[in-house]
């Protein structure tokens, strides 16, 4: 249940932690899934209640420094030493110790009872979680650094090469930012974006898609792009051949089921959009020997000499003009309208709907 009201300011859990006063805080698809009751119950034991949502945050430290928050709550944030094997690899999103340390259970800020979240006036963060925002980057752009970092991570996990045909399924925030990330970090031979709404189509093109297609045309167009063979079965098509790598950015069963049928045998499907408890026909995955891999969060990127995903995202942000994807902005008090708007963002021509908390500090 989502409740709007006054809650005590989160306490600093340990020395070194700092207060962040959110300026803008995005409404993510995962937030909408949680509010709508569509989120997978898998996440339940990884969450502590009650929590203040909001993990896409640009804000200010008490000294006025503008920062974005890297919300993963891994070993380092929790003060656990030695680090678990995953955190040692630079993958705090996969931390084994999300139940340990001075704060409650939680994968991320925004899903932890002790940290507060971006949809509040104050949250608390470990120094390793905050990244200074360059002056040249506006708040409207910076609020998208967190999802952009997710997509940079996804692109690097996909690992497309210049010989690959890549499909990005879905053109919400994650889909569009994946298009941008793939284009910038792992440019393929051909990048096809699947977008439903006119604004999404336009943005996908601007962000670097070589071709933008409608969801209904995906088999026809991918077949052509890859010179595959298309077979039409009882109620579904499949390609013999197909895309080398598909980024599934919708998180729905129908989309994932299509992805595994138009990605070539031996190819890779990267699940970027947050899926729920989805029913997918595994026959294609089995028969095509697909690599289906998740891409969750960020950390440090081995394919970029171990550099922080957030830093990579911050560096690349000016080129992407992230600010064009942000808006409309709502005050916290208008949260019902904001959430309703976010739920229909694509249809309404919006990408990232966010809360503007600057008024709270005035």
């Amino acid at each position: 249940m989502l409740h709007f009201g006054e809650v005590p300011e989160p306490e600093l859990p340990a020395s070194g932690w700092m207060r962040v006063l959110p300026t803008l805080s995005g409404i993510c698809g995962s937030d909408l899934a949680a509010i709508g009751g569509h989120a997978s119950l898998y996440l339940d034991p990884l969450t502590s209640y009650p929590f203040v949502p909001g993990h896409e945050v640009v804000g200010m430290l008490d000294d006025g420094t503008r920062v974005v928050v890297e919300p993963a709550l891994g070993c380092k944030v929790r003060g656990i030493d030695p680090l678990c094997p995953r955190c040692a690899e630079g993958r705090p999103g996969l931390c084994y110790n999300v139940t340990e340390g001075p704060i409650e259970v939680g994968l991320q800020t925004g899903y932890c009872a002790d940290t507060g979240g971006g949809w509040g006036e104050v949250l608390v963060a470990h120094p390793s979680q905050v990244h200074r925002v360059p002056e040249s980057l506006s708040d409207d752009a910076a609020v998208l650094i967190e999802p952009f970092a997710c997509c940079v991570h996804a692109a690097l996990r996909g690992g497309a090469t210049k010989d690959d045909v890549v499909v990005v399924l879905g053109a919400g925030t994650i889909g569009l930012l994946t298009v941008a990330a793939v284009k910038l970090f792992t440019p393929p031979k051909k990048l096809i974006a699947v977008a439903k709404h006119p604004t999404q189509r336009d943005l996908a093109r601007k962000l670097g898609a070589d071709q933008v297609i409608a969801p209904d045309d995906v088999f026809q167009r991918v077949r052509f792009a890859t010179a595959a063979r298309r077979l039409d079965g009882m109620d579904r098509s499949l390609l013999l051949g197909g895309a080398d790598i598909t980024f599934e950015c919708v998180g729905r069963a129908s989309s994932l089921s299509e992805a595994v049928r138009f990605t070539r045998g031996g190819g890779t499907v990267v699940a970027v959009g947050m899926p729920g408890d989805e029913k997918v026909d595994w026959a294609a995955i089995w028969q095509r020997e697909l690599t289906v891999t998740g891409a969750y969060a960020y950390g440090s990127e081995p394919k970029r000499k171990g550099r922080s995903t957030f830093e990579l995202a911050l560096e690349a942000a000016p080129e992407v003009h992230l600010e064009k994807l942000t808006g409309p902005l709502f005050s916290l008090g208008d949260y019902r309208e904001a959430i309703a708007y976010a739920m229909s963002a694509g249809r309404l021509g919006a990408v990232k709907v966010a809360f503007d908390l600057r008024g709270l500090r005035a």
Partner: protein, 509 residues
């Protein structure tokens, strides 16, 4: 004035003073086709009687035109059936046992068994299908041979069985002057390698028009290839022509001038208009495609290909030629539901271009009815509608190629080879009932001369987005189209409406 409008008809008003050109009435058919066929085979032109060419132990191949003509398909018995039955009877009498029949479909789609049966008749079908009656496969590397190059560098290929035969008898049905002659073998039994020699933008721009072989670079090329084929294999050519009786009784009003319509014709027209206005496209299509034309045989000639084809063209012109005095600023044409490449399928947008600006525009001799830089106005609903079985490459052509450019030279350079070699299109052409991957290119090239010649092309009643994708202008009504045409041809243009089908060839003086 009646305008064909895809699977429908429209009544339109033309400006005062407009000229209407109607096709000639159907000629009286030959009363006894079987006798005429026997006579032609017994007394061929510049060749020995067929009987004398047949001998025991020989390898005989009979090749025949596919279902792309006549249009609409001919009511049974198809004239090709009558000819082939006679040839086979003669061969049997001579003791020929090794007989194969090949549908010479070039890069057209494979026909269904029923479609083949309709052309050859039950007797032949039952006896020969599928081992000795089959369809040409231009992508089977084992079934085609490379013969050589013409003096102009055109490569020539031929179906292997035909190339290795002691005698090839080609059975043709010529509906329009473009058909028949050397083109039958040079395209019908060829591969992409051979066909691309003349099915290209340059050749089609140099064919003015390809409905008049002497002025057609396409035909000159086919003749050169055909001569090389004749050096390789002995060919006996049989060509037939039919009259203009293109519509069954139910649509007989389409054969007539509107002023000649009887009360019954008017009632039939109103009934059809009501039906086509209300019925969904797929239902209308089924009804229209089930129509069979009561064509009557007007000529049958056999023997040496050039001699035969001269006579054939003479017979065709006798049926379809119309004398037209001078050119006009605007030509209007109603594009019907059917063209050579959409039998039992919707006429997709690329085929609308092929039919309207390709075939119908090119039905002229000497010079086009439309003056250079004039406005061509077509009526057709021009929907985004494709048959996924017959026209898979057309879908990609429309969605990928036309989204990029409508410049035919660029299209040819940039895309044709890729489509032609796409393994899926190759497979669908070979195993399903799909046109070859290169076919949408050819259908579009067919319109190269018309597009180049017209100052503007307007499609009335077409889906705006589709018409624009094709590179033309869209108008809601004919009146709007005339108003739009003013920008190109001025305020008081001369107008000619070519009321086809049935087809006609305009001898423009």
């Amino acid at each position: 004035m009646l305008f064909h409008f895809g699977e429908g008809v429209r009544l339109e008003k033309l400006p005062l003073g407009s000229r209407i050109v109607y096709p000639p009435d159907p000629l009286e058919p030959i009363a006894h086709p079987e006798r005429a066929i026997k006579r032609a085979l017994g007394k061929p032109l510049e060749d020995d009687p067929l009987k004398s060419l047949l001998r025991r132990g020989m390898k005989l191949t009979i090749a025949f035109d596919d279902l792309s003509l006549p249009l609409p398909p001919m009511a049974a018995p198809d004239v090709r059936q009558l000819v082939m039955e006679e040839v086979i009877d003669m061969a049997a009498e001579a003791g020929v046992e090794d007989i194969h029949l090949i549908a010479a479909l070039g890069l057209h789609r494979r026909m269904t068994a029923d479609e083949v049966r309709h052309i050859v008749g039950d007797r032949i079908f039952t006896t020969f299908w599928p081992d000795r009656l089959y369809q040409h496969d231009g992508e089977d590397p084992d079934a085609n041979v490379y013969i050589g190059k013409t003096a102009q560098g055109e490569e020539v290929t031929l179906h292997k069985r035909a190339a290795e035969s002691d005698l090839v008898v080609y059975v043709n049905l010529t509906l329009v002057p473009m058909d028949g002659g050397h083109k039958s073998m040079a395209t019908g039994l060829a591969t992409y390698r051979g066909i691309r020699a003349h099915h290209n933008v340059k050749t089609l721009l140099g064919s003015r028009s390809y409905m008049n072989p002497p002025d057609s670079a396409l035909h000159h090329s086919c003749i050169r290839q055909g001569q090389l084929i004749e050096d390789t294999v002995r060919v006996f050519h049989i060509e037939t022509t039919v009259n203009n009786h293109a519509f069954p009784a139910i649509a007989n009003f389409m054969q007539k001038r509107e002023t000649d319509w009887t009360a019954q014709d008017q009632a039939m027209f109103l009934g059809m208009k009501q039906f086509t206005d209300l019925a969904p496209p797929a239902f209308k299509r089924n009804v229209f495609h089930a129509m069979r034309a009561p064509y009557g045989l007007t000529a049958v000639n056999a023997g040496q290909v050039d001699a035969v084809h001269d006579k054939t063209l003479e017979a065709v012109r006798k049926q379809i030629s119309v004398s037209v005095e001078g050119q006009t600023d605007i030509v209007t044409l109603g594009v019907p539901y059917l063209g050579p490449y959409n039998v039992n399928a919707p006429m997709n947008p690329v085929l609308v271009v092929c039919m309207g600006i390709g075939y119908l525009f090119n039905f002229y001799r000497h010079k086009p009815v439309l003056r250079k830089g004039g406005v061509l106005i077509l009526t057709h609903p021009c929907r985004y509608e494709f048959d996924a079985v017959q026209h898979p490459s057309y879908i990609d052509y429309y969605d990928e190629v036309l989204a990029d450019t409508t410049d035919l030279v660029e299209i040819e350079r940039k895309y044709e080879k890729r489509f032609a070699q796409d393994p899926w299109f190759v497979q669908l052409y070979r195993k399903s009932h799909a046109y070859h991957g290169a076919h949408p290119f050819y259908a579009h090239y067919w319109a190269a001369h018309g597009i180049d010649h017209a100052g503007d092309i307007i499609i009335v009643g077409g889906e705006r987005e589709v018409v624009h994708r094709l590179g033309f202008k869209a108008a809601t009504t004919l009146e709007d189209a005339f108003e739009m045409a003013e920008q190109t041809v001025g305020r008081h243009p001369s107008v000619t409406h070519l009321r086809m089908p049935p087809i006609m060839l305009c001898d423009v003086e």
